[in-house]
């Protein structure tokens, strides 16, 4: 269960638009080797993780990795 926080994790101030850079950044988030994929892999891997402290860690990292996509 996830709860949305209506704020950015880190302040962003866009001085000038740059579609080329935006395209690179969005694929870093949602692309084939992006954070969204990593997030879901962490969250799936935790089900078979035998060490309790790493179950917690996978949960928290998996959650955090999805943040830029929000």
């Amino acid at each position: 269960m996830f709860v949305y926080e209506k704020k950015l994790q880190y302040p962003v101030k866009i001085a000038a638009t740059n579609p080329k850079l935006a395209s690179v950044i969005i694929s870093q988030y949602g692309g084939p080797d992006g954070e969204l994929g990593a997030s879901l892999r962490y969250l799936s891997q935790r089900y078979s993780m035998p060490y309790p402290e790493l179950r917690g860690l996978l949960t928290d990292i998996g959650t955090e990795e999805s943040v830029p996509c929000n």
Binding site: E5, K6, K7, L8, Q9, P11, V12, E53, L54, I61
Partner: protein, 146 residues
């Protein structure tokens, strides 16, 4: 035509060669920590993990707006939480986690009163449901101040 070149590779590895052996140093206890505000711009709360890419160091601290303070506090809670996942016996870090989490909670409550809900559960304000009224974080006007 050279066979290797045509396949876009050069050189050969034995079949059993490992590609690489990565090592991650175990993070020690009893270490220094940045204050939340510094941690936010350094990208870590822990000086021993602060290894800037190509030596490029972000030293420009954010202003003290309510939102920036919340972002710093939220980051500190996140960092200490990840650390405590694998260092659960570090009482000092646990106490610091408690303090930051308390400040963060209080800050979120104050922010919601002044600027509208940050969590949906805070969305009943002034006799109505106000979740959709404040700008979403990715909208331009949400990032005008600070």
């Amino acid at each position: 035509m050279d066979e290797n070149k045509s396949r876009g590779c050069c050189g050969k590895l034995p079949a059993m060669a490992p590609l690489a052996n990565p090592y991650v140093p175990w993070q020690p206890e009893d270490q220094d920590r940045y204050v939340a505000k510094t941690g936010l711009i350094r990208g870590t709360l822990f000086p021993c993990l602060d290894l800037p890419f190509l030596g490029m160091v972000n030293t420009e601290e954010k202003s003290d707006t309510m939102m920036h303070q919340l972002q710093a506090l939220g980051f500190a809670v996140q960092e200490l939480g990840l650390y405590l996942d694998t260092h659960g016996d570090d009482a000092e870090a646990a106490e610091l986690f408690r303090q930051y989490a308390e400040l963060y909670e209080a800050g979120i409550r104050q922010y919601a009163q002044d600027n509208g809900p940050m969590f949906q559960k805070q969305a009943y304000q002034n006799g109505r449901y106000s979740w959709n009224e404040t700008p979403w974080p990715w909208e331009y006007r949400a990032n005008q101040e600070g």
